[in-house]
């Protein structure tokens, strides 16, 4: 299978050369070049009106970058973003007029205020479904607007007047050109920070939540915490833009912060391409620039704008400049050619580390040794309505074995799986992993304890590249802080490189290094399964659970799968396997548990299970007069 070539528009030779030069620059330099060109271009044009529009475009772009974190990355609908703009603007306006602070000194406070507001908005809404978020965020925006309208200290409906322009080192800034400089400076900061967030483990976590929240949580991404963080991070940039807006306009009042503004910012993101940084820039140019360009239509301009918008969405629903996560050479720049043993060494080291940590953290704790009980399920009961899906099931899984759970469809296998992995809370019974209870922990915490998993239907993050999928799997072992990610500190860079390197190793392990840069959906069925396995292994589990990994595989692929499962066991990882394919299960398992109608009907070594009459009956159905019994029995 050959990687799909990334489509590239070919440019004229001279431009192509410039483009290559531009692409080779580090990101901060690219931002600098972009801002310089934009700034110099506007300065050269030397038209106050154009300059003013450019400042507005930059302001909207900062807003867009912030909302893009919430909407584009984390996939949370927010229709009240104007509230953050307002809070930032009022914070700066009041501090500058009442306390006579310098503009730049007010910025941190504006950002802190809006970040806090983000947390306040985010916290109650975390568990709401996305459609409900629309109305709650909308409500938040309106409540904020009404609150400031009725707030007498801040001038009520008249707002805050006489906000001075910013001064820097004693120089009073005041012309539109000056504002352009400040706005481009702030835009540059926002571009750098959001780009870094996008390319950090946080960005990957957000996108994973957007693609499939359930799967993200189940492979170790703390989804609630990350969603809250998205609101906070997103709100902060709204505050920055608001602060700038206040000092630029000089007088703010509540009518600047309406629902229409929230919609406009959301619009520019989706128009540009949700989740895409250049998309935000293009989007703000269109959303701010187009109505200005349509001035000749005077009163009809909003009508024309709305028609263009609808046509645009019909022609190009993915946006003007969408973020494509495909990457032709994801491992470019990493030292190559190491043997795959490195993955194994890293894993072993990490396993020892975890055991050491547990020993120190928990007095009297001793990790299960080879052949000792690692996972203990006792008296597990799960009930849905009147139906007992799992009825008093108990078994033990020993460290280092391959343990299979089989049974006909609807026997309760997946329910047992879901209880172990924290997706469901069992009605009764205990589940202990390495001596500690797992019941009641959220799925991502169970992953951190050392349980990895794959899914029955494939649940990869479809629009992420293969290597990014695996990198999401490393999330629970990653220790980068948010501020480190935003500033792209040396420590974070090291961590990222290490993560990338490890993702590569695990892809090597399952034989997919060549496919690393493609989108997950572009792979074949069997390869997607292997990516899932790599993603599960990347969390360095001590136990992995595979839910029907052979479903839909052909015999050759199944044979390869058996090889991979054995290799995983040889890494020192205990394996629990659910599958229908008896030949696979019989060949690979050390011990097998058989469920039927929620009850454990047999437990033993493969050859015992094969002879067990109860098992044969469960699988083939009881039918006394049938010749089949003889056929099997012989």
């Amino acid at each position: 299978m050959t990687p799909v070539p990334v489509p590239r528009r070919s440019l004229p030779a001279g431009l192509e050369l410039w483009r290559r030069w531009f692409d080779a620059l580090p990101f901060w330099a690219r931002v600098l070049v972009f801002l310089l060109i934009a700034g110099v271009g506007v300065w050269y044009y030397n038209d106050p009106y154009v300059t003013a529009v450019a400042v507005s475009v930059a302001t909207y772009a900062i807003l867009g970058l912030g909302l893009n974190i919430v909407v584009g990355y984390a996939g949370l609908l927010d229709l009240g973003y104007a509230a953050f703009f307002a809070i930032g603007a009022y914070t700066t306006a009041l501090l500058m007029t009442q306390a006579h602070w310098n503009f730049f000194a007010t910025l941190p406070l504006a950002v802190i205020m809006t970040g806090t507001a983000g947390a306040i908005l985010g916290y109650p809404t975390l568990r709401l479904r996305s459609d409900y978020l629309a109305i709650v965020t909308l409500g938040f925006g309106e409540m904020t607007r009404v609150a400031i309208t009725n707030w007498d200290y801040a001038g009520g409906p008249n707002g805050v007047l006489g906000i001075p322009p910013p001064s820097i080192l004693g120089f009073q800034l005041g012309s539109q050109m000056d504002f352009l400089g400040v706005s481009l400076f702030l835009l540059g900061i926002a571009m750098l920070a959001t780009h870094h967030l996008d390319h950090s483990r946080l960005g990957r976590g957000w996108v994973a939540i957007r693609e499939d929240e359930f799967a993200a949580e189940a492979v170790g991404v703390p989804s609630l915490r990350l969603k809250l963080l998205a609101y906070v991070m997103g709100g902060m940039w709204g505050g920055l833009a608001g602060a700038f807006f206040a000092t630029r306009i000089g007088a703010i009042d509540p009518t600047s912060f309406t629902f229409q503004l929230s919609v406009l910012v959301l619009l520019l993101i989706v128009l540009g391409g949700s989740g895409s940084l250049p998309g935000v820039l293009v989007g703000s140019l269109v959303v701010v620039g187009l109505p200005e360009a349509l001035r000749q239509f005077s009163s009809q301009r909003m009508l024309v704008f709305s028609i263009l918008l609808i046509i645009m969405m019909l022609i190009r629903p993915q946006g003007i400049w969408p973020r494509v996560r495909r990457k032709p050479k994801p491992f470019y720049g990493l030292e190559g050619g190491e043997s795959s043993d490195h993955a194994v060494e890293a894993l072993r080291a990490h396993q020892r580390e975890v055991e050491e940590r547990d020993r120190r953290a928990l007095t009297g704790h001793r990790s299960a040794g080879q052949g000792e009980v690692l996972l203990e399920v006792k008296g597990l009961v799960q009930q849905f309505g009147g139906l007992r899906a799992v009825d008093d099931v108990s078994f033990e899984v020993r460290r280092g074995e391959i343990f299979s759970i089989i049974g006909p469809n609807g026997a309760g296998k997946t329910t047992v799986f879901n209880c172990i992995t924290g997706v469901q809370k069992p009605r009764r019974g205990s589940i202990r992993f390495d001596g500690r209870s797992l019941v009641g922990l959220p799925p991502h915490a169970i992953v951190s304890r050392g349980l990895g998993r794959t899914f029955q239907g494939i649940r990869l993050f479809k629009n992420m590249a293969v290597f990014e999928n695996v990198m999401v799997g490393i999330y629970p072992r990653h220790r980068t802080m948010t501020w480190q990610a935003m500033l792209h500190t040396p420590g974070e860079r090291r961590d990222e490189r290490r993560t990338l390197q490890e993702a590569r190793r695990w892809l090597q392990f399952v034989g997919l290094e060549e496919e690393a840069g493609r989108l997950a959906t572009e792979l074949s069925y069997a390869d997607q399964r292997r990516v899932e396995i790599a993603r599960a292994l990347a969390s360095h589990p001590r136990l992995v659970l595979f839910d029907e990994p052979a479903a839909g595989m052909n015999p050759t692929e199944k044979l390869e799968l058996i090889g991979v499962i054995r290799k995983i066991r040889d890494l020192g990882i205990t394996v629990i396997l659910i599958d229908h394919d008896m030949s696979l299960v019989m060949r690979v398992s050390d011990r097998i548990a058989v469920l039927d109608h929620g009850v454990l009907i047999a437990l033993g070594r493969p050859e015992e299970i094969q002879r067990d009459p109860a098992v044969i009956e469960a699988y083939l159905g009881r039918d006394e007069g049938d010749e089949m019994v003889e056929a099997i029995g012989s």
Binding site: D131, G139, E142, M143, S306, I310
Partner: protein, 300 residues
């Protein structure tokens, strides 16, 4: 106590307008999971068609019963056609494709209707004929109720009852409810899903238009921007009652109307929005599926 009852009367009247628009949100959302942001603006379009008929075309001089029938039926049909056009040209190509794109298209549609109305009917406030219905009323103890309020409230109830009967009493109505659960299974019953979606858009628009005309008659003033706040209140009502839930939308609308009326009466009109959304958020935090629970399946 007298004041409380008086506020209740006002709240129920206004709430019934919200309820009608909320039903449109809920029906459409239940079937295709789209928040049709243009819903409030459809109400505005209905109000303006009614105004054109009554004032510009002089229908107000016809016998009252004829004028009223025309002023309700024609806007309802006209708005239904508008909504069908919106569905066909703007939403249909995006259904099942991009959730974001269709949402933005809905916002764009709202913007479009508002500005189209601005072009057609102008920016000024247009007045409905003030003396169409008797402004007199009667007193129930300390409460004064106008005949207009009673008539409008009863008309709303009638429309809602009609919708309820349709959705629960006919096969096509049953199909609409089935679509909220499972599109594929509905296809396997022989249900033409597209046809039912069109029907939902028609019904939603008709209710919105009726509410628009009633607002015109009640407040006697309409403006092209009226759709936004109305849509917002109605959407809130739909979510409050449990989106996709038809009785929920009715009760939700009444609750929002009452809440607004009490706030305006006891506190100050300035705080209406804060109180309404505060209650909504509180309800959602406690019961994320609205007061009466949603009537839609987890996934499509």
């Amino acid at each position: 106590m007298g004041a409380f009852l008086q506020y209740t009367v006002i709240g129920l009247t206004v709430g019934s307008f919200y309820a009608l628009v909320a039903l449109g949100y809920t029906i459409v959302y239940g079937i295709i999971r789209l928040i049709n942001f243009a819903q409030g603006d459809l109400s505005m379009v209905g109000a303006f068609i009614g105004w054109t008929l009554l004032v510009s075309l002089g229908f107000q001089h016809l016998p009252l019963w004829l004028a009223l029938i025309a002023a309700f039926v024609i806007p309802m049909i006209g708005t239904a056609l508008v909504n069908l056009g919106i569905l066909q040209f703007a939403y249909k190509p995006l259904l099942h494709k991009s959730l974001w794109a269709i949402l933005i298209t809905a916002l764009g549609m709202s913007l479009f209707l508002e500005n189209a109305a601005l072009q057609v009917w102008g920016p000024s406030i247009n007045a409905y004929p003030p003396s169409m219905l008797p402004s007199s009323g009667f007193s129930l103890g300390p409460v004064h109720v106008t005949f207009l309020q009673v008539a409008l409230f009863l008309t709303s109830l009638l429309l809602m009852a009609g919708l309820y009967a349709f959705v629960h009493g006919t096969m096509i109505g049953t199909a609409m409810r089935a679509l909220a659960v499972d599109h594929d299974a509905a296809r396997l019953m022989g249900i033409d899903v597209d046809q039912v979606i069109r029907l939902a858009f028609v019904l939603g628009a008709m209710l919105a238009a009726a509410s628009g005309v009633m607002i015109g008659i009640y407040y006697t003033q309409i403006q092209f921007t009226m759709g936004f706040l109305l849509g917002l209140r109605a959407f809130t009502a739909a979510v409050l009652g449990g989106i996709g839930n038809i009785p929920g939308a009715m009760v939700g609308g009444m609750l929002i109307g009452l809440l607004e009326s009490y706030t305006a009466g006891y506190l100050s009109g300035k705080w209406e929005t804060v109180i309404v959304f505060g209650v909504l958020i509180a309800v959602l935090v406690v019961k994320p599926t609205g007061i009466f629970g949603e009537r839609v399946a987890e996934r499509m």
